[in-house]
Symmetry: D2
Subunit: 317 residues, 4 copies
């Protein structure tokens, strides 16, 4: 099961569950995968920016990815961004052998010119092997690397194994339209476009032609709803559910504490047994937790799935 350019729906970015002592929380991994499948995820992505991958040693990373792959009935993409091509190749081979459906590659921060970016992806594609489908991660806010639509077209056209764009340029609506325009005018072959940024613009992104989302918002079922309702032409209904969640989507999008919010809600929903991050990590303040609870209570008025499990539910499950 390998991803290709027809991928659609919601690929959930999975966090790595830890216990308070910093050890990997294996039961929560299984529960989380099951939860994503129940939500209607069409894929799962591990070792992304929000996966705390740099805090794992290589063996841990491979074990976690393998466990997710074995339990999942949908394709699993693994982030393999690395400071050099040797580590990238080695990790790619290992996870593909373990059953991954593809890999995701972010550009290193020092890239500046169009040619540098295109060259980097050519070398990366060669390093991992032409048989490994890969995803471009286009996230200038974090990586400071700016890819024009023309640069993405060059990467796609040069590398047959490039099948997907994780689109999180901001703003990015016109970029989606431009890329789809390239497909219509025949200058670029079709690729799957899944959107990140915590879903902050998902309502319009799918209207612009994106195939769905690749992000880890703590209510993935909302992302699934928006993709489904939009595909069904139910615009108002899609915006209705999206807007009900938008205050929390926005709150979760705060750099630095976003993952803490996400894990906290996933713990409150009974999916993770702990909201712990491995060190170094920023904890939520009491006031931040109160704000999240307030946001959850408001969502619950509209979306009955937001009724939370009693605290400690996960550990009892």
């Amino acid at each position: 099961m390998r991803i290709d350019s027809s991928a659609r729906g919601v690929y959930v970015i999975a966090p790595t569950p830890f216990l308070a002592d910093g050890s990997v929380d294996v039961p929560s991994i299984d529960r989380m995968v099951d939860f994503y499948l129940e939500c209607g995820a069409t894929g799962i992505t591990v070792m992304g920016q929000m996966g705390e991958a740099p805090k794992l040693d290589e063996q841990e990373a491979v074990e976690i990815a393998s466990r997710v792959i074995r339990r999942s009935t949908v394709p699993v993409i693994v982030g393999v961004s690395a400071p050099g091509f040797a580590a990238m190749r080695s990790l790619s081979r290992t996870v593909m052998n373990a059953g991954a459906a593809g890999v995701m590659i972010a550009p290193p921060v020092q890239l500046r010119t169009d040619d540098q970016i295109v060259t980097y992806y050519r070398q990366a594609a060669e390093a991992i092997g032409a048989d490994v489908p890969f995803v471009i991660q286009d996230y200038p806010l974090t990586f400071t690397v700016v890819m024009t639509p023309g640069v993405i077209r060059r990467i796609v056209n040069e590398n047959g194994s490039c099948v997907m764009l994780k689109h999180e340029d901001w703003p990015g609506l016109e970029k989606i339209s431009t890329l789809r325009g390239f497909e219509h005018d025949g200058s670029m072959r079709h690729i799957s476009i899944l959107c990140g940024n915590g879903g902050l613009f998902l309502d319009f992104e799918v209207e612009r032609g994106a195939d769905g989302a690749m992000t880890g918002y703590c209510f993935p079922e909302m992302l699934v709803d928006v993709v489904r309702l939009t595909a069904a032409g139910q615009r108002d209904a899609a915006h209705e559910i999206f807007n009900a969640h938008l205050p929390l989507v926005r709150y979760e999008q705060q750099a630095g504490i976003g993952l803490a919010v996400r894990k906290y809600v996933m713990m409150r929903r009974g999916i993770l047994s702990s909201d712990a991050q491995r060190k170094p990590a920023v904890a939520l303040s009491a006031q931040a937790k109160e704000e999240v609870e307030y946001l959850l209570s408001r969502i619950a008025r509209v979306d009955k799935r937001a009724g939370l499990a009693p605290l400690g539910a996960a550990t009892k499950a």
Copy 2:
């Protein structure tokens, strides 16, 4: 009328109105000022990041600022960020003589260390003169300069003329709490904190102790409502009106096209006679306009002020 550290409420960031041929649209300036006053603005800020200041020559900038100052019954702050202290001093003197209430200073992008930032503001304060109240603009996302709470405390304590923080760090909720904590523990004197980022976190920012907003969202009356309702302890009501606008607040926050959205809505509301920006500028695509119209129609269901003027109302007024 000079600003001091007791400033509260909503200081609206004013755009500069242009006609389609790039000339300054003077009648729209007057109408805009009147509109802001009717909305309940407690201050106005001109020549900010969203004021297209770099596209004005110095004479134009001074004329526009002066016109706003003369017509306004609330304090007017003028952005005086400049590549050097000579231009900053010269512009500050001119606008203060014209009746400005204070000036706003952004840090130059090359500043990195704590000491560099503190030194810069010391030199800037000396350049403009100790009698000119100034606002620190803390906007790392755009300027790439990161000021810790401790650095802001040093600037405040060193410079008696520093009276306000335009807070648009992101995330920034804990920063507000930390700064207010400095005041409570006596290590920093009180300053006014007004929040930017288009209002994207205003709901919680005022709960955290901010004194209000300094931003230019196209419905300033919503900002006024949120500040007022929160001050009155009406939390649910504040979030209700905030959330109704949040999809558009977010849409307007898109870098690069945000000003186009803002001017478009202000034109649709009959305030500006044109949504033109002076060159170079990015125009809204047809699809973007449709998206804005859709967002406006949804707001109108909740906030009756969002009923739009017929197109062309401004020019007929």
Copy 3:
């Protein structure tokens, strides 16, 4: 007298002379211009990065530029980089009317993609007017904007008024070869290439096809020698004189204190009456001055022009 693409030789980057009290030192301006002409300069550039332009108000800048223009018998280029096109146009018009031979434009730090850079120069060229010859300043180390040879070719081919490249990419030897290759293969028209970086690679840059230097090393006569000797095919002699100065060239290239070194030597040579910079400025430590004196004493063994004027010579002249 306007510059065109046939410009050659040494365009000296002139500092702005100040007295200790921060006022402009007019007699030193005249003496400096005369000195550059005696050195064999084929042009002079004012208001460059090393001209302390941001510390001048606009009127001062124009007066200084005008004074240099009137006294000089060689073309004078004026730096007009500005945060916006309005100020750039206004300053360009003023200095061209005062007799400037052309203007120099650096890219703003936020430019990233190839298209952003090309667009910026197109808009700048339009803003200043197609009749004003301009110089691209390509200095990634300071501006963080990286222009590939292909981007420079696009700018040159799009804008007939682009006549010169101030080349200070680092490393840049291959860039010169590539650009000259573009001329040979007919894909780019000829432009003048003058090199900066304080002259640190001038020995090989002229061998690679550069037309000379545009930099302000405190012994411009050495730059003139290297260009002349290389053009005459006297490679060893060119390197001999270059290498004798290289320890000081390198010392002067230290960011932040380079201008202090340059002014100190120009004062010691009797050209400037003071090495003062307008505030804010970094002064040379006693140890740094001793190091410069040591370097000067070593140069003097090889280059008899390095015999220094007695201290105070300038003020007595």
Copy 4:
């Protein structure tokens, strides 16, 4: 044999020798280590910026480091910079067990504020273990992280295992003086300061109080000479030999091609059997090679050690 704060002399940054097919060139490793020892190196550093570490997988890196450690009679420092603390800890433990004398840690590019930098080194020191001596790599030109002397003092005072600074701030002479001043005024304990930047300022750095060099200039014997002569008070002799090499030192300092120059000269001197870099790599153009040969021929007039081995000597040895 572990490094401590009394380390002095020249720690040579070793490249990783490869054959033309990209495989590790083991015989050249041994020859290179022997050569460094003959040159008078007091230490060797592997897996630094110039060691092509990202192109090695972890097993290769450990094998190369171990081989150098076994053959060397002087302390060996290993670069362990990594995107996360898990990999940093794992690599540190492995190489320390293999006999490394300490590790070197560069700051990640996203660090901005003083506190962020201090916190990072505290966490890194904790991650590798308090028993592992470490070196701060202060190289703002490459990492964009700016550490003031005060920040370095905080790191040193907080972490007993911090024993050395690889100093390659630029400019950095005053920084050395300031840090030594901190030691004299008792506010910071003594650390070893070894200088990088290819040796471009080594002549004055050792006069300012640095303990020597940590860099990989292709004639390490010159670095040894400069440190020795300066320590012996023979200033003129130190500058004499330094200046003879300065044109090549400067040439080798060109970002991107510097390593190619270094390996080329080491091949020409019979140390490496090939100047190959593992992909991706930039090759020297024919003109660049000619320039290097010219510089070598000029050095040979002054420094008889620069007489080169006939091509192919290494492979025959």
